[in-house]
Symmetry: C2
Subunit: 212 residues, 2 copies
DNA sequence: ATCAAGTCTGAAACTTGTTCTAGATTAACG
DNA sequence: CGTTAATCTAGAACAAGTTTCAGACTTGAT
């Protein structure tokens, strides 16, 4: 049972200051290769040996940076989400109500994913297949998603009821995405589902306190 | 690309009449072994070689009945869902409103899953990891779930708005289950999420027709 | 009972994720 | 420079899902 005396480049995220420039470059090459391979072929097309080869890194090194294929793809998703959030910030949604703005934002994100359905497939499958060992990373993705939704709402101080609604919207978003990716729901169906869930934002009567 | 001139026992579902008694028995042994192995250890513990051994069937035969591990586990879920539905029918929920009855039913189902968290893990992971080749089976599970929810509502002729709400509830149910299974949400959180989604049933003002 | 077609078995082979090892390279420090 | 620890590389090895194959067994029809 090795005690891992080595520094883990994946763990040293605080300010990327712990990573050499060449290490940063390696990390970026890996994520790029991952996204590129995922773009054509989805989850199955991201083969660790090929990612290693494409990013000019040894297989062992790839595994030092990302301890599993799921870790790698979830990190890829973090990357893409950051881009998305930045893009969305630049052109905020223009709906009248909070729920309309959230629905518009999610549909915009959805259209972005539509442009690269294979990449979306790889990332979402990894996300839902992730076991406990990836929880921190998956949680980070979840927080990022929440942030995007809250941004779209534009509500500076959301009520507990609204936060509960946001959780349900997130659930709906993920699950609807999966059904679309596996061909069991149309795009129109996804829109309807999202809009239905978003309606919860306005009907925010009681807080969720009933559970305590 | 072999043309598969052989009859597929998995496809011959119409009335189980196409299957010999011994074939039915094999099928049941396989599903039992699958559920047992999943019960201790979850998704990873269901190893095809071991399932074959436990059910006294050759590996090739196992693959003839269930063309992949995911197919096997989704079939296991179909099986369990039928049990659940039968059990729930015997003692229908007693809430005053439709949304209360649905929430109660789902929480009851949830408690059943809690008793076998590893089994739940295996089934749900398989369900969300399934690709297009498993769509028919996954869809069947989805229809079964919808039937359970509609049963709980007790509404003989649900409106389009209510059907839309049911879809969101299903999304929430699956996704919340996943977050609980991977340790990212507490049971209380799951209940809150389900109750929040169920609120949509009562607030069923406009139909979903707005999309057209 | 016999034949043909389909099915089952046991075992090996193949694929891809993951781990391990030995040696080369790099980085930090004196 | 030279040393030392960490990192990287190439490649073998291992694990589990999946495929393949030759031969034995069942089944159904005659």
């Amino acid at each position: 049972m090795p005690v891992d005396t080595t520094a883990d480049p994946g763990a040293a995220r605080p300010a990327s200051s712990a990573l050499t420039e060449r290490q940063e470059a390696r990390r970026r090459r890996i994520l790029q290769a991952s996204a590129r391979l995922a773009g054509r072929g989805g989850f199955d097309a991201v083969q660790m040996r090929e990612v290693a080869e494409c990013s000019q890194v040894a297989l062992g090194t790839l595994y030092r940076y990302f301890p599993s294929k799921v870790h790698l793809l979830v990190a890829t998703m973090q990357d893409q989400l950051e881009h998305l959030h930045a893009t969305l910030r630049r052109r905020p949604p223009a709906g009248d109500t909070a729920s309309a703005r959230v629905a518009e934002t999610l549909m915009r994100a959805f259209r972005a994913l539509q442009r690269e359905p294979h990449l979306a497939d790889a990332m979402v499958r990894a996300l839902t297949f992730a076991d406990r060992s990836v929880s921190p990373e998956v949680d980070q993705v979840s927080r990022q998603t929440t942030a995007i939704i809250l941004d779209a709402m534009g509500t500076p101080d959301p009520t507990p009821g609204q936060l509960a609604a946001v959780r349900v919207i997130e659930h709906t978003w993920h699950s609807a995405l999966i059904t679309w990716l596996s061909g069991r729901a149309s795009i129109a169906q996804v829109r309807t589902d999202i809009e239905t869930a978003c309606r919860l934002i306005d009907h925010t009567d009681p807080g969720p306190g009933g559970a305590s």
